[in-house]
Symmetry: C2
Subunit: 402 residues, 2 copies
Amino acid sequence: MLSFDIVEYQDRLSKTKQRMAESGIDVLLITDPANMNYLSGYDAWSFYVHQMLVIIIDEPQPLWIGRYQDANGARATTWIYDDNIIPYPDYYVQSETYHPMDFIGEILKQIGHGNRYVGVEKDNYYFTAKAYERLQRSLPNAIFKDADLLVNYVRIIKSDQEIEYMKRAAEIADKAMTEGAKSIRTGVRECDAAATIYYEVVSGTKEHGGDYPAIVPLLPAGENTGAPHLTWSDRTFKEGESVIVELAGCYKRYHVPLARTVSLGKPSNKLQEITPIVVNGLNEVLDSVKPGMTCGEVESVWRNSLKKHGIEKEARLGYSVGLNYPPDWGEHTASIRRGDSTIIKPNMTFHLIPALWFDDYGIEISESFRVTEKGCETFCDYPRELIIQDPFDMNRHGGRIS
Amino acid sequence: MLSFDIVEYQDRLSKTKQRMAESGIDVLLITDPANMNYLSGYDAWSFYVHQMLVIIIDEPQPLWIGRYQDANGARATTWIYDDNIIPYPDYYVQSETYHPMDFIGEILKQIGHGNRYVGVEKDNYYFTAKAYERLQRSLPNAIFKDADLLVNYVRIIKSDQEIEYMKRAAEIADKAMTEGAKSIRTGVRECDAAATIYYEVVSGTKEHGGDYPAIVPLLPAGENTGAPHLTWSDRTFKEGESVIVELAGCYKRYHVPLARTVSLGKPSNKLQEITPIVVNGLNEVLDSVKPGMTCGEVESVWRNSLKKHGIEKEARLGYSVGLNYPPDWGEHTASIRRGDSTIIKPNMTFHLIPALWFDDYGIEISESFRVTEKGCETFCDYPRELIIQDPFDMNRHGGRIS
């Protein structure tokens, strides 16, 4: 059931241990579900309870510690020996008396790691303030270090197999955008369009079934196009309004996001004006990306392109993307924004989302790309343009502006 | 756009302030997206960045503090005055230099609350170890208190409007289970069945569009029925195996979960034996629930019912359910398990999931219910039985065991 060859997991583990050594960390406690998956293969919707992967610098195997009823899932999806899968009893789950970190602390002491340098992922969703407090109380002789993003930075350069999975995710994204855009019609409920997109994303292609994306399909419509993270309701789409669709194809937890904007009937003057500005800016950025540039330099291409039209953008332009779990498909490492000094390297993968949001309207036309030896290549094939739905022809897209 | 009357939000706020007063908390920092929604109406997929609702005991309005690009969404979905919606600039997002909690701490100091008793939700997914560290550093004169679950306990008793929303969610759950069970057939890919369920859950009914559930549909099959939190893959269902379906209907973020087990063709002897034990135990529990009992007493009905058959169950039997966001639809307050002393009251709502998982097979048949004045009533209408798919008749369900 492993998604990668055992050699690839070993390589990831060895890179992680190298970073641990550089940071003076003996024992790394991993609570980010993507990092747990990356190093062990573990894949289950169990991250709503406390769980972790323990990497000990001088031990060949990680430990998985989690809920009793999830231990079978750990045995089924990881390369970890059964002896290293350690379940805690169910009375630790969401209890006001017992906390799983007490159990985990005891285990670490019992196996002789209670007084070592312990790394924790301090800003991960699944490592709460209380988890840290209880762990510190349970391990008074440990010296804690912040290991936030340590594994994420190992993840930043993808292997060929990971790129292959992202290509499959991209096929799913293209298909979902095609069917999703078709379903967005005047008089259709937002929830029915969202359902269509979800169906396509989860079903996937004939060859490759889809996985759940770490963020739901977002499709703000009308005035809400200025509020990018609102989700659908059961209102119906209105003639003349525009709809932003942001989705991701996902294959074996690897994401390829894609955003487009749909106009129901003739686009507003504002949209007609802004579309070529966004598409040109996006093209200029994609043409400019080269290994050796910094993320900040990539962003400046966009900034200069917009400046010609008197526009300044507040939000970041993009971010590293790939393996992830809810609530975010971004990897929290490199951002394509002013001041980010990350040097672009081959097989880094980014979602480039040069969105423009104003008070009462917005536009998103995005691409996910892989850095190549000489430049970059986009994952998706979907036309890079504003989609215009012709109200008189239900069978095909109307005109396009790009 | 508010889901509830303003009077209901005010009532929730006033109950929250009462609990704050009892706990000696002046300023409550709410990072749980369900609690943010409950008190303000805020509803967006923005919880992957740091954000919060600030409740000040002597101020009539909460403050919303979040990312710049989400402020429009806060204006659109909450009853908070525009002046109380405070956005932080985008360079705070997922940065190794800036942290949103530094910004939030500064705001609290500026408005004169830097030296008060400050409550934080210590074990919430969206309040990380680092968020707490940075907040403490930024507010050296504040005295922090653990306010984990403070608002969750206000949420535990539902209003009539909340119950109405859960009834709509139940209709969606029934429909999704009906269509989902039909789609689970020998030779069908797991991902295609999951896609069908997702379509139904998100589309909803003709009258009421669906919302995204806080947990994806889970459908472990074959040997994996002993590993309840594994998600689907693109393998195909095999004749003779069983499939567990656990899903929730969701309406305006209110969940009604429902689980059933499907047998593809003749059920194994083990399944045939265990099914009536589970259904009878479930019925006995539902018949026994009455206001005034403790959750622990409810669980003992199940435990005694199982004991007659020589079975002991490790996991908890159920939990409080309702309003929520990923990664969990449970409310983290009352659990129906041994030792839980929560007293059952009218309009509490639970997911009762008397699942039995063994090493290589499992069964789930669950019900969500509301406590009434004299007993309880279930939300869903789906038959309480093992679903048997007849391989020779694609148009209807086969026989059933209950």
